[in-house]
């Protein structure tokens, strides 16, 4: 009886999350002649393998850069002596975490496209970005993704940085440790679970992204989300079972990331408490 008031929520979860997802898992193994791995075999063309490779590479790069840059910026923010600047920068990170998608991608075309504002500025001082660099490519996407990865990292790591105890620093210095030794032997191991769990969040965040990539590069950059979307729209071939198989493999990747995040986040809370 106690669970009865929760039935709308449970129905929603079943109807719009769990059952549809389970149904594509089942149909990915289905064919006219019963259960089969055929869909997976046919789905994994060299082009699709390349899409997975690109997606994993892009996610790993933007997550790694996001974690490193974000952690440094977050540390710079909290070590600023001016409270007003601190709050303003945290607000900036907070707001920009929610930016992304089409308008952001277009903003990057305006500044770094072939006739972009910064492209022209750099040309004037003798640096020619084009044709070596193109915003409509994977390296362009990396820059655009960092626009939402870095602020997200700042928001994720701030509580852990603020949780680093002053006493540890004082104790280490009093016992004769150098600043480097403090960071390497004490602070970094304490922060490691938080850094790693943030990496997982950033990885999943980037792996599932579609709107930014689609606006910026259209079908030019071969990512797995772009491939699945093309199959849904029926642009490639009318074999939607292949999209099921690709989705199942993609979900395995993102859910491993989510589980990695959840288990490490728990450990990180313990390390700091």
């Amino acid at each position: 009886m106690d669970w009865l008031p929760l039935s709308p929520l449970i129905l929603f979860a079943l109807g719009f999350q769990l059952i549809p997802v389970i149904s594509i898992i089942i149909s990915s193994f289905n064919s006219k002649h019963g259960y089969t791995l055929n869909n997976y075999e046919r789905a994994f063309t060299p082009m699709i393998l390349n899409a997975f490779k690109n997606s994993i590479q892009l996610s790993t790069t933007t997550a790694t850069l996001g974690v490193i840059i974000g952690a440094f910026v977050a540390y710079a923010i909290i070590s600023s002596p001016n409270k007003f600047i601190q709050n303003a920068l945290i607000a900036l990170a907070d707001v920009t975490t929610n930016f992304g998608g089409a308008p952001l991608a277009f903003a990057f075309i305006i500044i770094l496209g072939s006739t972009g504002v910064i492209t022209i500025l750099l040309k004037e001082v003798g640096i020619n970005l084009y044709p070596k660099f193109r915003i409509y490519s994977i390296s362009g996407l990396t820059i655009a993704y960092l626009y939402f990865q870095i602020p997200l990292m700042i928001m994720l790591i701030l509580p852990s940085l603020l949780g680093l105890k002053k006493e540890l620093w004082e104790a280490a210095i009093n016992l004769g440790a150098t600043t480097f030794q403090y960071w390497w032997y004490i602070a970094l191991p304490t922060l490691a679970p938080a850094l790693l769990s943030s990496f997982f969040i950033l990885f999943v965040n980037s792996f599932g992204a579609y709107a930014t990539a689609w606006t910026l590069t259209g079908p030019d950059v071969n990512l797995i989300t772009v491939q699945i979307a093309a199959l849904i729209r029926g642009e490639v071939q009318l074999e939607i079972e292949l999209a099921d198989a690709l989705s199942v493999v993609s979900m395995c990747i993102t859910l491993i990331g989510v589980i990695g995040y959840l288990s490490l986040a728990r450990r990180s809370r313990r390390a700091l408490s």
Binding site: D2, W3, P5, L6, L9, A13, F16, Q17, I19, P20, V21, S23, I24, S27, V73, S79, S80, L89, I90, L92, A93, V95, N98, F99, G101, A102, P103, F106, A107, I109, I110, G116, V117, I118, I120, Y147, F148, P151, L152, M155, W169, N205, G208, A209, Y210, A211, T212, T215, T225, I228, A229, I232, I240, D244, S247, T254, G257, V258, L262, A265
Partner: protein, 270 residues
């Protein structure tokens, strides 16, 4: 343990430049006559703004996006507030459902959510596929953590048990307790959730594009169409998106008193 001031300022200035320049450049681009062959704009004009806003599709897509964002946020408030209250006061165990739903909502990419809904609902006799309704339901799934997290935090921060017992002992039933006692106390959380969902759905492109396509054009769909053939009008539309996102985010910051909007588990999906 402090960072060297010079290093700190350098890092912070580069960070601010990286975050601000794309937005400012888009805004200036939208009021420039031409800005693709000189360092500074060749002149200023409101022509692109006039052109793009006088298009009847502009008002229509803006209205559609507003309806969708508002509808999703209201539906999630109605779904999440009573059940989260019930979970926190009576069935602690069921909090796990909310956590799992939040994790899945983040872990299932938009394209896969769209595929799974199309595949499932085209096989059963409920007329949802290709309607704005399925889009609204998908947006609810997508933005679920943004509603749940602030409400859960608000519920954790008040003395739920005492308030509920006090209300009950005075003869209130569950609905009266929720409406007259709990809701006013968790209002900042509910409002933050509402606004977070609103701004997420207002910027939503993936689900709209794949679930309803041209049948229900929203503002981001309109924007992406323009990026393909008229960059200057598109920049005016992008500016509007940025302004909406900024206003909503600043409102949330103001309501929640500088507390993190996007903390921990409630993570963005792009």
């Amino acid at each position: 343990m402090r960072m060297h001031p010079l290093l700190r300022s350098t890092i912070l200035l580069i960070f601010i430049a990286f975050m601000i320049i794309p937005v400012i450049a888009t805004m200036v681009f939208s009021i420039s006559t031409r800005w693709d062959r000189s360092i500074l704009p060749e002149g200023l004009t409101f022509e692109w703004w006039q052109k793009v806003t006088s298009n009847p599709a502009f008002k229509m897509t803006l209205r559609n996006s507003f309806y969708l964002s508002f509808g999703t946020a209201i539906a999630l408030v109605l779904l999440v507030t009573p059940s989260a209250y019930w979970a926190h006061i009576r069935v602690q165990k069921s909090k796990a459902i909310f956590e799992i739903m939040s994790a899945l909502s983040f872990g299932i990419p938009g394209v896969i959510l769209a595929l799974s809904l199309i595949r499932f609902y085209s096989n059963i006799p409920i007329p949802l596929v290709n309607t704005p309704n399925i889009l609204l339901l998908a947006c609810m799934e997508l933005s679920f953590p943004f509603m749940y997290r602030p409400i859960a935090n608000a519920l954790d921060s008040i003395n739920l048990k005492t308030l509920t017992e006090a209300s009950m002992s005075l003869g209130g039933n569950w609905i009266q307790t929720l409406w007259y006692v709990i809701l006013p106390n968790i209002m900042p959380g509910v409002l933050s959730g509402f606004l977070l969902v609103f701004s997420t759905v207002f910027a939503e492109f993936t689900l709209t594009n794949l679930l309803v396509g041209a049948r229900f054009k929203t503002f981001p769909i309109y924007l992406v169409e323009f990026t393909r053939f008229d960059g200057r009008q598109a920049s005016a539309l992008a500016t509007i998106s940025f302004v909406v996102a900024w206003i909503v985010s600043l409102l949330i910051l103001w309501i929640s008193g500088r507390k993190a909007v996007s903390a921990g588990g409630a993570v963005v999906v792009h």
